[in-house]
Assembly symmetry: C2
Homo-oligomer: 192 residues x 2
């Protein structure tokens, strides 16, 4: 059946979108192409008229998640207190329980690293955040401080998602959020 002009492009985007959700939520290895296509009311055979392999979809899905995060961060960093907005967002209860729509660094990039299948997109995502944080800090040691902030945010989220007790997870997020804000307010003052 031949479809209207941009029908295939739409399907292409739908596959990438669904994949970027599932890869982040369930893991890349644990996400099957058959269930993924079925969720979009498609059959699995058609997958290969869109992508030449699962690996290609993984890269496209990571890029889609990166673009999503870029858009979200553009909003956050144009607020009055950009760094606080970013920290609050990254360590929110929503981000804790919604890896499917969250930052791909602790999910997709992490799994790609584990398998030794690194992607330049990971470096781009990290680089984009570092640049935004550095600009928000505005002082000379911005680059190093930005790396500290990102490491702490990612680590806190990874740990909060890993621990068994929900109360401990929430405590990690709360403590790190408060202490990180305190540190960075100092930095912002020092930079002025």
């Amino acid at each position: 059946m031949r479809y209207s002009q941009d029908h295939k492009a739409q399907t292409h985007r739908r596959i990438i979108k669904e994949a970027s959700v599932r890869f982040r939520r369930d893991g890349i290895g644990a996400t099957g192409l058959q269930p993924l296509m079925k969720a979009l009311d498609l059959t699995h055979g058609g997958f290969y008229s869109h992508f030449k392999s699962k690996d290609e979809l993984v890269e496209k899905a990571l890029q889609a998640a990166a673009a999503e995060l870029d858009a979200h961060c553009e909003t956050l960093f144009s607020q009055e207190r950009p760094l606080e907005a970013f920290i609050d967002s990254y360590l929110s209860a929503w981000h804790l329980t919604s890896p499917a729509e969250g930052c791909p660094l602790p999910t997709m990039s992490s799994e790609l690293g584990l398998r030794g299948q690194h992607s330049a997109t990971t470096d781009a995502v990290l680089g984009a955040r570092l640049k935004q944080i550095k600009t928000a800090l505005g002082d000379g040691r911005g680059e190093e401080q930005a790396l500290m902030v990102m490491s702490t945010l990612v680590g806190a989220l990874v740990l909060a998602r890993s621990v068994e007790k929900p109360a401990l997870a929430q405590r990690i997020l709360d403590v790190v959020r408060d202490n990180l804000k305190a540190l960075n307010l100092e930095g912002e003052r020092a930079g002025q």
Copy 2:
């Protein structure tokens, strides 16, 4: 064939040891029981006379990795500058490239969390490190500072292992190590 008295216990430990290495290095989902048993010159059928399921082995392997880390950290924290020794060890080039023998938090615990199969052992591992760091810091806000340190260490290692460019990975480790030491030396002074 009947074996000498503690032969089975030895095999049991060998399986757990090999699993704790493979789960951390390759991931739990990507580690097959068949190749694992073959690597120990055993056949896969015998696995179930040792463990009732792969999940049971996962928990035992995580506990083994935790015990290994405990032993290593006991050495580190009995040195003159315990916190620096721990930070240096955690952010070492060796730890970056040797997840198989390293901290299970960014590897096994992270994957268990991703699958929603949390373990109390994760909380125990984190708790043990927090306690040691808190003791090393020795001041009133030790608990919160300890959480900040652990989050930053885990995040730095996760990011360093995720990025594509080795130079960026090394830079993350270097910057975070230096800045974390600076922060904590202040803390140690403040606590005295």
